[in-house]
């Protein structure tokens, strides 16, 4: 990290001005970033942050 006030580039491409039909042009690795985020893959159960220490699935 360069400093205390800097911009960091993320793993997600900015598609704010990309029409849906152009998504077919993206490479698989760019697409895969979306399924890897949130700290896990879609193999894992969906992370659920909750305020209850007993109720599974408990992740918060």
């Amino acid at each position: 990290m360069a400093g205390l006030d800097c911009d960091l580039e993320s793993i997600i491409v900015d598609l704010s001005s990309t029409p849906l039909e152009r998504l077919a042009d993206l490479t698989d690795d760019v697409i895969a970033a979306a399924t890897r985020c949130a700290g896990g893959s879609h193999d894992a159960s969906l992370p659920l942050w909750n305020n209850d220490g007993v109720q599974p699935p408990a992740y918060g």
Partner: protein, 526 residues
């Protein structure tokens, strides 16, 4: 192609409790890009893995969505940005991966419904509340199948149901805008869906957020406006941190060791502590801005110190990336400022003069001590040897303890824990009643009397809850007692001595004497 970017100074401000509109807008835009990527991932996976007739509904739905985007980019963004899109896409991809049948018709129905529906005639009611020029507009969605991830949903099937949700949300919104208008504005910019849940036998309110459903908050109907406002702040902060971790890693990939979390009764990974601390930094900010008003001041006192301690454990965990460490440092600095420059009068903060402060201290200690008694197990051979040293009047030695997570069914809070939380949070929970004289003494601050009662209980049988009560009393009677630091060691040794017979003189083993004896190795600098 450009990637979404995050500014570290804005992130540091966010984690410390205050979130700016530019950051929320940036995170919302990034979540929209994530959903677009997920839709394309679904399309590709369906085309590759499903028979043509099953993949077609996905292609058709995306064609319809693309048409909508051409005619009305705003309407298309609204559909793509819906929180259930993320959940559906992830469940779809997971089903394909596991060889199960994915829900191929869902997207087409959602797009068709959104194109056709007059918002006033939609099956999903919308709650809209305004205060001080700020409006929150959310769907109250009790029917989307993919929101089943949160648990059993409450059905909103009458005008009366809708009215009570609207009324309570309006009161909460008023409170939030009045005390924390910037937080309210940020919530209005990000939260678009509430998922009503059934209480399902819970005595306390329940709320949840999923990292795959940015913008949605699931919750049971809160009991009052403050609880509702707190849930909005709390869950919004989970959603914010989830969106940040979608973009940049805050934790190293290796699984972390399990840690004590003051918000949960089970041992937690570093990710859990990070989320808990981040949520509570927002709540502390909200309570702090309400000054000495109760119950906000009581809740601030209840949670400041446990949050500070959790941040210290996180900082020392070795689980953080460089950015994660930077953000934890920012949170620690803010928590330190709240600690060093208290906004509450001294008489309210002093546990010897204020029931509010005393109950805050006791509820926090009760939670920590319970966690130790439930999940930490002293080394058995060392306890056996320690018992021999005790009987032979030799010096004690340090005993190592191991984390052995207790099963979920043993994690229910004790009656005393619930009483203390109710007293500390100034909540009204009719299901909680004093269960015995010990609890009544303890709540009233008669610690010597309470301790005598707990000593009788620990003498009679193995009673972890009584050990916690006894240790809690000693926090006031003799704060440096070994029992307050490691009750699990004193309890294990006491149990061992009880089973093997008392001391040579035949007297029962006094827990206080055991605790003093165990302190001995520390005093001598061993």
């Amino acid at each position: 192609m450009d990637r979404h970017r995050l500014n570290t100074a804005e992130l540091a401000a966010m984690v410390s409790g205050r979130v700016g509109p530019a950051l929320v807008e940036g995170l919302r835009a990034a979540e929209l890009s994530k959903h677009q990527l997920l839709l394309e991932a679904v399309r590709r996976s369906a085309a590759r893995q499903l028979p043509r007739d099953q993949a077609e509904p996905i292609e058709h739905a995306l064609t319809d969505l693309a048409d909508l985007q051409q005619r009305s980019p705003v309407a298309a963004r609204e559909v793509i940005g819906r929180p259930q899109i993320g959940v559906w896409a992830m469940l779809f991809l997971r089903a394909l991966r596991n060889g199960e049948t994915p829900d191929t018709g869902y997207l087409k129905n959602l797009v068709r419904e959104s194109r056709a529906a007059d918002p006033r005639g939609s099956r999903v009611p919308r709650l809209e509340v305004s205060s001080g020029g700020l409006t929150l507009s959310v769907r109250l969605d009790d029917s989307d199948p993919h929101f089943g991830i949160y648990g059993d949903r409450a059905t909103i099937d009458s005008t009366a149901d809708l009215k009570i949700w609207l009324q309570r949300l309006a009161e909460a919104w008023h409170l939030l805008v009045r005390h924390a208008p910037d937080t309210a504005a940020a919530i209005a910019g990000a939260v678009n869906t509430l998922v009503p849940l059934r209480h399902g036998g819970r005595t306390a309110s329940f709320s949840a957020t999923s990292d795959w459903a940015f913008g949605a908050i699931a919750l049971t109907l809160p009991a009052n406006a403050l609880d509702f406002a707190e849930i909005l702040v709390h869950e919004f902060r989970h959603a914010l941190l989830g969106a940040v971790t979608d973009l940049l890693p805050l934790l190293v990939p290796e699984p972390s060791r399990m840690l004590y979390s003051p918000w949960r009764r089970d041992p937690r990974p570093a990710a859990g502590l990070l989320h808990g601390a981040h949520a509570y930094m927002g709540l502390l900010d909200f309570w702090q801005r309400q000054g000495a008003t109760l119950p906000a001041a009581a809740r601030f006192l209840r949670w400041l110190e446990p949050t500070r301690e959790a941040l210290e454990r996180l900082a020392a965990s070795g689980a953080l990336t460089e950015l994660g460490a930077h953000l934890v440092t920012a949170m620690r600095s803010q928590a330190e400022r709240w600690h060093e420059e208290p906004h509450l009068p001294a008489e309210l903060r002093d546990p010897r003069r204020s029931d509010v402060a005393r109950h805050a201290l006791d509820a926090a200690a009760d939670h920590r001590l319970h966690w130790r008694m439930r999940h930490l197990r002293p080394d058995g051979a060392a306890i056996e040897k320690l018992a021999e040293h005790w009987r032979a009047r030799r010096r004690p030695f340090p005993v190592s303890v191991h984390l052995v997570p207790a099963p979920a069914q043993r994690l229910m809070p004790s009656g005393r824990s619930m009483l203390l939380e109710r007293a500390a949070g100034r909540t009204a929970d009719p299901a909680v009643e004093a269960t015995g004289a010990d609890e009544a003494h303890l709540l009233e601050g008669r610690y010597a009397a309470a301790a005598a009662g707990y000593e009788v209980r620990v003498d009679a049988r193995h009673d972890p809850d009584a050990w916690v009560g006894l240790a809690l009393c000693h926090l006031h009677l003799q704060p440096d007692a070994f029992l307050c630091r490691q009750p699990e060691v004193v309890a294990a040794l006491h149990t061992r001595l009880r089973h093997r017979g008392p001391d040579a003189a035949g007297a029962p083993v006094d827990p206080r004497r055991l605790s003093e004896w165990l302190s001995d190795h520390r005093r001598r600098g061993d």
